[in-house]
């Protein structure tokens, strides 16, 4: 429904949005309304939306401000709380809700609407520690998003937060990203939602649920849980998250409700979901749900699992594995048998073989002659970067997964095993070795290609692709492209 007499700019995120409203409220707004329509617990929320003309962000917000206040009144009715005043104050989260998500357009301001009186009221309603923590979180988050100290008045805070989100839609970096990706500026949508508090007490927290494992593709829930915290703690990595199983132990009923909600969202979306949630004093609230990103192997496994469950057909399987993902899956090589010469930290995955060179100059010279080279160094310094670039694989004696050598190798996609132990370099000089960046092992001899040995999953995928284009010829990547081109 829309809010206010004659207003077309504020949309309450209820069930039953029409098509125009669904488009206008952006990705986050749409997800919220869909969760409401499923009857899932979602904090009340509305979007202010507008086409965007030549006006400045501030002029735009001036124009939308009555809609913001109208929506706020409705949230107050829904929650039985009052923005900026006790005894039961309403706090807001303010987020952008883009049609396409993009870096830079991220300004989220949480805990908006907290002044001295509100802190006092929150302290009486819950606890003084919670009230102070929430105010501190607000000030920190506001400063980060807006770039200035938060004003004292709740309405001024709200205006500042909405201004920041609107400005982020027109910042230089967002414009650059849009130009880069060919995305039009289009309309603007700002999501305002009643706060729920993962930092309230020991039976509160925040986390993210993947309805299936996005790394392995296993059909089991996967996720992270951060007790007594708010969502920005998870994203900013300032705290150590626990696996979701920790929540199952501490809050079994809430866990079951979350998993059941995930199943329904997955069915609705027809794909694996990445669900943000908060638990406030033992009560589950869902904040966001979107299709989850996944690894190439997970994409294949999940496409087949969804087919087995009757959720997608053969065309869906072909669609859900991209050509790039298939190439990664096929590019598997296997290390030679035999005991490893050395083991270390697997710093960049993949398998590569070549002649050991122990200086970057030697590696560059050998690579210039057309040799496959493995650079083996005690440790690396900046002048070794050129040697790493010339090499097919990298081995170091000292250093961990965050060492400079690991960072550079990872950036170049070069298999690397680091921290193999002091003294290794001299013993490997001149040999042909294989670096197994998945297992963290170094072996004598060359690797073998295993493209011909299809995994059971890859075989099934190949059968599905062949059946889709029975007259086409070529290898699996070619048939896959043909099948994708033949889609209706």
């Amino acid at each position: 429904m829309t809010i206010g007499a004659g207003s077309r700019h504020a949309v309450l995120l209820d069930d039953g949005l029409d098509d125009a409203a669904r488009r206008a409220v952006g990705g986050k707004g749409r997800a919220v309304s869909e969760m409401v329509a499923l009857g899932l617990p979602v904090p009340p929320a509305f979007c202010v939306t507008s086409e965007w003309s030549d006006e400045t962000p501030s002029e735009l917000v001036d124009r939308l401000w009555q809609d913001v206040l109208g929506g706020l009144k409705l949230l107050e009715e829904r929650t039985g709380r009052v923005f900026g005043a006790g005894p039961r104050p309403l706090l807001l989260s303010v987020r952008s809700s883009g049609v396409t998500s993009m870096p830079g357009m991220l300004e989220t301001v949480l805990n908006v609407g907290v002044d001295d009186a509100v802190v006092t009221a929150l302290g009486e309603e819950y606890s003084v520690a919670f009230a102070e923590d929430t105010r501190e979180r607000f000030r920190r988050g506001y400063r980060r998003a807006v770039g200035a100290d938060a004003p004292d008045g709740p309405l001024a805070q709200l205006r500042g937060a909405v201004d920041a989100v609107a400005s982020s839609w027109s910042s230089a970096r967002v414009d650059a990203y849009r130009a880069h990706r060919g995305i039009e500026r289009g309309g603007i949508a700002i999501l305002l939602q009643a706060m729920v508090f993962g930092n309230l007490d020991a039976r509160s927290g925040t986390g993210v649920l993947f309805t299936r494992d996005p790394t392995t593709g296993a059909s089991a829930p996967f996720g992270e849980w951060l007790p007594a915290a708010q969502g920005d703690d998870v994203v900013s990595g300032t705290s150590d998250c626990e696996p979701l199983s920790a929540m199952r132990t501490s809050l079994p009923d809430v866990y079951d409700e979350l998993i059941a909600a995930g199943v329904r969202l997955e069915l609705l979306g027809g794909d694996v979901q990445d669900v943000e949630f908060t638990v406030e004093a033992g009560k589950l609230w869902l904040l966001q749900s979107r299709v989850a990103q996944r690894s190439p192997h997970a994409a294949l496994r999940l496409a087949l699992a969804f087919r087995d469950e009757g959720l997608v057909d053969d065309a869906g399987v072909i669609d859900r594995v991209t050509p790039e993902q298939l190439a990664t899956i096929l590019a598997v090589r296997s290390a030679p048998a035999g005991p490893p010469l050395a083991t270390g930290v697997a710093a960049c995955p993949g398998i590569a073989s070549g002649l050991v060179c122990t200086t970057s100059d030697d590696a560059i010279a050998a690579a210039d002659e057309g040799r496959d080279v493995i650079l083996v160094r005690p440790t690396t310094s900046p002048d070794d970067v050129a040697g790493i670039m010339a090499a097919n694989g990298v081995v170091t004696e000292v250093g961990g997964a965050s060492s400079h050598a690991a960072i550079v190798a990872r950036e170049l996609g070069i298999p690397a095993v680091v921290g193999c132990g002091v003294g290794l370099t001299a013993s490997l000089a001149g040999q042909v070795i294989t670096v197994d960046g998945d297992a963290g092992e170094v072996r004598l001899g060359e690797s073998a290609s295993t493209v011909s040995m299809l995994s059971p999953e890859l075989s099934r995928f190949a059968d599905i692709v062949r059946a889709a284009v029975p007259d086409a010829v070529g290898d699996l990547p070619a048939l896959h492209l043909a099948a994708r081109a033949a889609r209706p």
Binding site: S101, P103, L106, P378, V385, G399, I407, R410, E411, V418
Partner: protein
């Protein structure tokens, strides 16, 4: 001349090979002196390495050892957070949405703020090191402008490229070597 020569030779050393056209300073003089290979892609000769080692030793001799140690130790504190942050970003970026991008940029900006006074102290000891602040600033700004490859891409002045070089400079300033640092767990 010797300050320019030192800066030039050190730049070439840290980058391994550099397009001659991209270099500033006494390039022709260093080629004539036999310190640099006479080619479109310039690198140090063995004689150039010796010259550079002498120039660096002379530079270090003017510096208070304790002060250099303090600068390096302060750098290591920030380094211990920067490298895992960059590593973690590499491992998760394929699945990263805008929130994750912002989070990593915000964290790096915070660490950047922490390292600037360290570079300030280093440039108080050796003036040329002050340029690392500008180079890190530039890389962070380009990443913030939307091109995240400026965090990690090798062979250009990405944040990690400059950081790696700064680390090497401070190891040298403190009179240590990467091998001894690696064994103590700080150099990898």
């Amino acid at each position: 001349m010797s300050a320019d020569e030192l800066a030039l030779l050190q730049t070439v050393r840290l980058k391994g090979r550099v397009a001659r056209a991209e270099l500033t300073g006494p390039v022709d003089e260093c080629v004539a002196a036999g310190s640099l290979v006479d080619a479109p892609m310039v690198r140090l000769t063995d004689a150039g390495r010796s010259t550079l080692a002498e120039l660096l030793a002379a530079e270090r001799a003017t510096v208070d050892r304790d002060a250099a140690d303090r600068v390096y130790d302060r750098f290591l504190l920030v380094n211990a957070a920067v490298k895992p942050l960059i590593s973690q970003w590499q491992l998760t970026r394929d699945a990263a949405g805008p929130d994750e991008v912002t989070a990593v940029l915000d964290q790096l900006a915070e660490l950047h703020r922490q390292v600037l006074p360290v570079i300030g102290e280093a440039s108080g000891l050796v003036e040329r090191l002050g340029s690392y602040a500008d180079r890190l600033d530039a890389a962070l700004r380009r990443a913030r402008d939307g091109d995240m490859s400026w965090l990690t891409r090798p062979m250009v002045d990405s944040y990690h490229t400059v950081w790696f070089e700064l680390h090497e400079e401070l190891i040298g300033l403190a009179g240590r070597t990467r091998a001894t640092e690696a064994e103590s767990g700080s150099g990898g």
